[in-house]
């Protein structure tokens, strides 16, 4: 087949051509100019960063027949240069270390090394993939590597320097090739596409450069594959379609369905992606990438240069990321990372992928306590359930309704009741009697009732404010019982009005108190006291929870107002 892949055709030919390895190229050039070329080099770096290329350039520079001595600009026209480019020069021996890894191969090399080069100045051994040599083979190399004949140079290239014996490493000059930045790759691709006279869309290059993951060869292999479709101009969509990556559109849909907590659609999106030939782990990987990008977008804001995104994908990502908050994204990323590991080891992964994504979809989006209080302050009372951010679970320690309830139970923090035709003097007493009687009749209802705060008693109507919707519902059901107790206490018919608590009230209810550092250790007595608090008791009983940790909350009055992290 006459076609040579781009990666081979556009292999850099001189030190100045090498992309992204300027430092190393300059060092080698200086060494050549100063006549200080070492007898052994070790080139390390990941795939496709220019190790073999650099080795060949160095060989050409040392052996170019057009120059009298080693040169930094080989002619590329002489027999030697041409033969080295093809990897078949008589004096530059390119050895595949991975398939010639035994001691016998090295013995052969040693035997041949003593002979002088046939036509050039040096006999150069380029050993590629040198990490695959066996220990014996490495050891057999040691002596000749330490003091080789003057005409012998060694160049080793490897992706895994850690597998090269330290005794070998110490005999070589080691150069670590950095992976190539996406911007640099994009620039080089741009140049190549111009030479190849292939048109492309602006969105395409950043995407491709990103996929290359720091490897020029990866980028060029991908490009080759795209060019071989024969379609022009090249677009980002082709990239996804052809390279077996889940296409952005379907991924976006999937994420939207997850955000909307729609199980049926989520499953459908997964099926579409799988039917396109994507493996489950590829899908998980792409999702991790997307969530990661969203997380970066949310944290660093627009216009960050941590991400290399094309305009259109940045807009979509931005829109998608509105649905999630950062803790949820972190949660999703960790879940998917764990999933990827399992997927890697299993052949049939569909059910697991579906289950995990469904659970992600159905999971309530986390929200931090700070954000929650912020919202409560701003949004006037009830938790904004229909807001963009889905229903929340509090992950921060504490449980606001709980200590509000505790606060409400303490007469000391009773708030002055707003004026009107009320009986301000008696309301506190009435309330205490009411709660006590209710608790005597039905401890559960009593517990719920204790969470409420009496508003005002006006025109034979008692207003109760509940901060917890659950307590509100429970008490509403016991309306009759409540009224009859009230009748006992006050001797007249009273109707009860139920309200959700206003956030201003609850915030005000927590009076500033003696400062005690949040999270400070509390003694056993205080712990017991906290546990015996009726509200806490009720939570423990109602949810069959185990208290895990008891911390003091700063704003509240110690020792009464502790909150508990419960493990349900």
């Amino acid at each position: 087949m006459s076609y040579t892949v781009l990666a081979r055709r556009y292999r850099s030919q001189t030190f100045d051509d090498v992309v992204g390895q300027d430092v190393i190229a300059q060092t080698l050039k200086n060494a050549i100019q100063g006549g200080k070329v070492a007898h052994a080099y070790l080139f390390c770096g990941t795939r496709g960063v220019g190790k073999t290329t650099m080795a060949r350039i160095l060989a050409k520079s040392l052996n170019c027949l057009a120059a009298k001595d080693a040169t930094t600009s080989p002619c590329l026209k002489c027999d030697s240069c041409i033969a080295i480019n093809a990897g078949e020069d008589i004096d530059v021996v390119e050895i595949d270390g991975a398939s010639n890894r035994g001691i016998d191969n090295i013995r052969e090399l040693r035997q041949n090394a003593i002979y002088r080069p046939a036509r050039a100045r040096y006999k150069i051994y380029i050993v590629d993939e040198v990490h695959m040599l066996t220990t014996e083979a490495f050891n057999a190399l040691l002596k000749i590597l330490e003091e080789p004949p003057a005409h012998v140079k060694f160049i080793f290239a490897t992706t895994e320097p850690n597998k090269v014996l330290p005794t070998i490493q110490s005999r070589c000059q080691r150069f670590d090739f950095a992976s190539i930045g996406p911007q640099v790759i994009a620039k080089q691709l741009d140049a190549i596409l111009k030479i190849e006279k292939i048109t492309f869309e602006p969105d395409f290059l950043p995407q491709l450069a990103r996929l290359a993951n720091g490897s020029m060869r990866d980028a060029l292999s991908l490009l080759d594959q795209l060019i071989s479709t024969g379609q022009q101009p090249l677009t980002a969509a082709m990239l996804e379609q052809l390279l077996g990556r889940p296409d952005a559109e379907n991924l976006n849909l999937l994420i939207q369905h997850i955000a909307a907590a729609d199980p049926a659609q989520t499953l459908k999106s997964i099926e579409i992606l799988l039917n396109q030939g994507q493996s489950a782990s590829q899908i998980a990987e792409s999702l991790v990438e997307m969530f990661r990008d969203m997380m970066v977008l949310k944290t660093a804001g627009d216009g960050t240069d941590i991400l290399l995104l094309s305009c259109s994908s940045a807009t979509t990502l931005n829109q998608l990321s509105q649905t999630f908050d950062i803790p949820w994204l972190v949660f999703a990323i960790t879940t998917l990372e764990r999933l990827r590991w399992t997927l890697r080891n299993s052949e049939t992964a569909r059910a697991l992928l579906e289950a995990t994504l469904l659970r992600l979809a159905m999971s309530e989006h986390f929200i931090s306590l700070d954000a929650l209080t912020e919202q409560l302050r701003g949004a006037g009372g009830s938790i904004p359930a229909s807001a963009d951010i889905k229903k929340k679970t509090i992950i921060s320690s504490g449980n606001p309704p709980l200590f509000q309830a505790a606060a409400a139970k303490t007469p000391a923090v009773q708030q002055p009741i707003p004026s009107g035709q009320t009986e301000p003097g008696s309301i506190g007493d009435i309330w205490r009697q009411l709660v006590e009687k209710m608790q005597a009749q039905n401890s559960q209802t009593g517990g719920f009732l204790s969470q409420a705060r009496p508003g005002q008693l006006r025109n034979n109507t008692l207003t109760l404010r509940f901060s917890s919707p659950l307590a509100l519902d429970m008490i509403k059901k016991k309306d009759d019982q409540l009224c009859s107790i009230l009748k006992d206490i006050l001797g007249r018919e009273i109707t009860v009005q139920y309200e959700s608590a206003k956030p201003e009230d609850t915030a005000a209810a927590t009076q500033p108190s003696a400062p005690a550092p949040a999270g400070a250790r509390i003694n056993r007595q205080q712990q017991e006291q906290a546990l015996s608090d009726p509200a806490v008791q009720m939570i423990i009983r109602g949810l069959s929870a185990n208290p895990v940790q008891i911390d003091r909350i700063e704003e509240l009055e110690p020792p009464r107002h502790e909150t508990e992290e419960t493990d349900v």
Binding site: D128, E129, T229, N275
Partner: protein
């Protein structure tokens, strides 16, 4: 090996993969190395053969289609005839069982990896030979995911700059297990799962009963090869005490689901024993139809199959509790699944699915079979005693 290789035209459900191969070939820009990536049994090997046949064919058929020219083998030239006779000198298949034909591998056990010796002797050393008949020589590496690190490294140089007449195709079900250096030297062609309906038709054509065919077509996640194996496997042992005649894997599955429907914590040990026995039956039956596979491998496949049956039952239960009753795998035994769904809410079922996957890993980790099944059932019953956090 199939006696007659299909022509490219006859390859079904992989239009995208075949299309991208065709386009590259038509544009004269075929790569020297491909990875056919996709699950087992979706037609990668078949496509590789058909593609090889086309490349080697001496009088290619060209057909104009809206997407471009479609090249195909003629099926009549000497090359194609040789190919159909499985004797084409320029088409080389490389698979792990070749080990016994290597210089030093005569009496070695059937390997679990694809050994480096095979790669070296059948690919690297031979790749310098010019094609004997046409313009190409085609090398197909089966189960490339089983190449160990040494084998993959040995391939690197060859893959980077093979002779111009070479086409190397790696068939790989897990691209993650390939070194990035291998992956970057090849073009990857994804192969998707085969439509459920298509598998259903093929199974029915093979004489599999409707309900069983429906089950296996969903169970195998688009792998026709798998579906064919399981649907046609005969688990009837000769010395079987309760010989009912023609017991299939599907019958076992039906029994299992009934048992799962009524499953209680107290039944754990009994059911686990039954699972173990069934797994043994299946692996024994597998052993009869496959050659050169170690008994450990067979046992594991049997155990994994039983676990997967439970897996799909739970997965279906999860769907039902989410209110999705379409596209269930166990649509034939919906009452049993519903009973299971009553015990498992969607969240619990999702959790259980990942626990089951951990049990599948245990199988590969050589953990005692009894422990695996019992642990699995305890998980199902809602106890997490054995689960590591």
């Amino acid at each position: 090996m199939t006696a007659k290789t299909l022509s490219l035209q006859q390859i079904f459900c992989q239009d995208k993969a075949v299309g991208s191969l065709q386009r590259a070939f038509g544009a004269g820009k075929m790569a020297h190395a491909y990875i056919f990536a996709g699950p087992d049994g979706v037609g990668r090997a078949m496509t590789a053969r058909a593609w090889g046949k086309m490349l080697l064919c001496q009088s290619r058929v060209e057909k104009k289609t809206p997407e471009g020219v479609f090249f195909d083998s003629c099926g009549k030239c000497p090359s194609c005839l040789l190919f159909d006779g499985d004797g084409h000198p320029d088409f080389v298949s490389i698979y792990k069982e070749l080990l016994s034909y290597t210089k030093e591998g005569k009496d070695r056990k059937p390997p679990r990896d694809l050994p480096i010796d095979v790669v070296r002797e059948f690919l690297i050393e031979k790749i310098g030979n010019r094609p004997r008949m046409g313009e190409f020589s085609v090398y197909v590496i089966h189960e490339a995911e089983k190449l160990n690190a040494a084998g993959q490294n040995a391939l690197l140089k060859t893959l980077e700059e093979p002779p111009s007449y070479c086409v190397i195709i790696l068939l790989c079900s897990k691209t993650e297990s390939l070194l990035p250096t291998i992956y970057s030297r090849c073009q990857s062609i994804p192969f998707g799962p085969i439509d459920r309906e298509h598998i259903l038709t093929v199974l029915k054509r093979q004489g599999v009963a409707e309900s069983a065919a429906a089950y296996w077509s969903g169970f195998c996640e688009g792998s026709l090869g798998q579906a064919l194996v399981w649907a046609t496997l005969d688990c009837n042992e000769k010395g079987d005490k309760d010989d009912k005649g023609g017991k299939s894997v599907y019958d076992i599955k039906k029994e299992l689901l009934e048992k799962l429907g009524h499953f209680q914590l107290a039944d754990t040990i009994e059911l686990a024993e039954w699972l173990g026995q069934s797994a043994k039956q299946i692996s024994a039956a597998l052993g009869k139809v496959s050659v050169d596979v170690s008994t450990t491998d067979l046992n594991r496949r049997g155990q994994k199959l039983m676990i997967q049956m439970i897996l799909w039952a739970v997965s279906d239960a999860m769907r039902i509790s989410l209110g999705l009753e379409k596209d269930l795998v166990n649509s034939d035994q919906i009452t049993a699944v519903k009973k299971l769904a009553e015990k498992l809410d969607s969240d619990r079922a999702g959790e259980l699915v990942s626990q089951i996957y951990r049990k599948i890993e245990w199988v590969d980790g050589s953990i005692n079979e009894k422990l695996i099944f019992e642990g699995l059932l305890l998980n199902t019953a809602g106890l997490d005693i054995i689960t590591a956090a």
